[in-house]
């Protein structure tokens, strides 16, 4: 390190910029990303089971074949939305 480096590190106004300590920033960003990613994949995977369960509940009140019960996971802007579509039989 040359003499200017020593100056930069030690003298007040030339002190080494703490903005090079960026690992914390990376960690925070990752924590957020990874928790979102995991939630997304866990709900996505359970979709068929959730759909089955919903069809069962509906069938307590009205006869609906499972094919007419449709559950989708949608991404709208920043939100994730579960969308349910049920085609009811003719009364």
């Amino acid at each position: 390190m040359n003499i200017f480096g020593i100056f930069k590190q030690n003298i007040g106004i030339f002190k080494q910029n703490k903005s090079s300590a960026t690992a914390t920033c990376a960690k925070e960003r990752l924590k957020l990303l990874v928790s979102e990613q995991r939630f997304r994949s866990s709900v996505g995977q359970s979709l068929p089971y959730i759909q089955q369960d919903i069809a069962q509940v509906l069938n307590k009140y009205v006869r609906v074949p499972e094919e007419k019960v449709n559950l989708k996971l949608l991404q709208r802007y920043e939100q994730e939305i579960l969308e349910l579509n049920v085609v009811l039989p003719f009364s």
Binding site: T22, A23, R29, L30, V34, Q37, S41, Q45
Partner: protein, 278 residues
Amino acid sequence: MANNSKVIVVTSGKGGVGKTTTSAAFGAELAKLGKKTVIVDFDIGLRNLDLIMGCERRVIFDFVNVINKDAALTQALIKDKRQENLYVLPASQTKDKDALTKEAVGSIINDLKSNFDYVICDSPAGIERGAQMALYFADEAIIVTNPEISSVRDSDRMIGLINSKSLRSEQGLEVKKHLLITRYTKHRVKKKEMLSVEDIQDILALPLLGIIPESDSILSASNQGVPITLLNGRSDAKDAYSKATDVFLNWDLPKQDSTRGKYFKFLEKLKSLGSKVT
């Protein structure tokens, strides 16, 4: 041997983090320790493992040739000239991903399992067919991760894929996953410029297999076509890979029975006897 044979996938998601380097290093070290090992290149279209292993001039038949029955597995396997327990199955140069089907790949993996102690699947980067096939038949996985944001995110994604898209997951079984951190630079971590081992483990929640430091010797090794663990001379990366292989092999061994350990075991036994009486 068929029962004790293990299929290990070396994967990451992110490209360029050290999968092939790791596959070669581990493969060579296991072979050195007397384990019959084959390393399989799962890339589709781009062949890398043969260069890292230094056997590029000896590739005659490849993975897809065997699938298409143009060649027998024994014709395609390349025996390493330095280690008698070490073999390589090179990737195809064709980019026809449809050639790799679960049935075809599964049949080859089974053949390999009956002849080798360890089948190392060197995964390509990404999550496409090659990477999917590499992880599908795995018993265990080495997740190679650089202390860098996109590598960590991709590794997390890969962990999710292994948990949902592997054969073992379909059977309700777990794929044992190990974290291998590569291209680690201690002084940058100290300055908080680079993610630390703890940071990465915090996010990925995987047991640590090893830490491989950034090292000039890695390039030297690949330049010469020598797996780092077979390279002559001293190398920090070589030592780190040796250590990691040791950790890997000793993973399942029960911890040494200490006096303290024995005492606690005795207490547990008393407890269970007590509950039987009541």
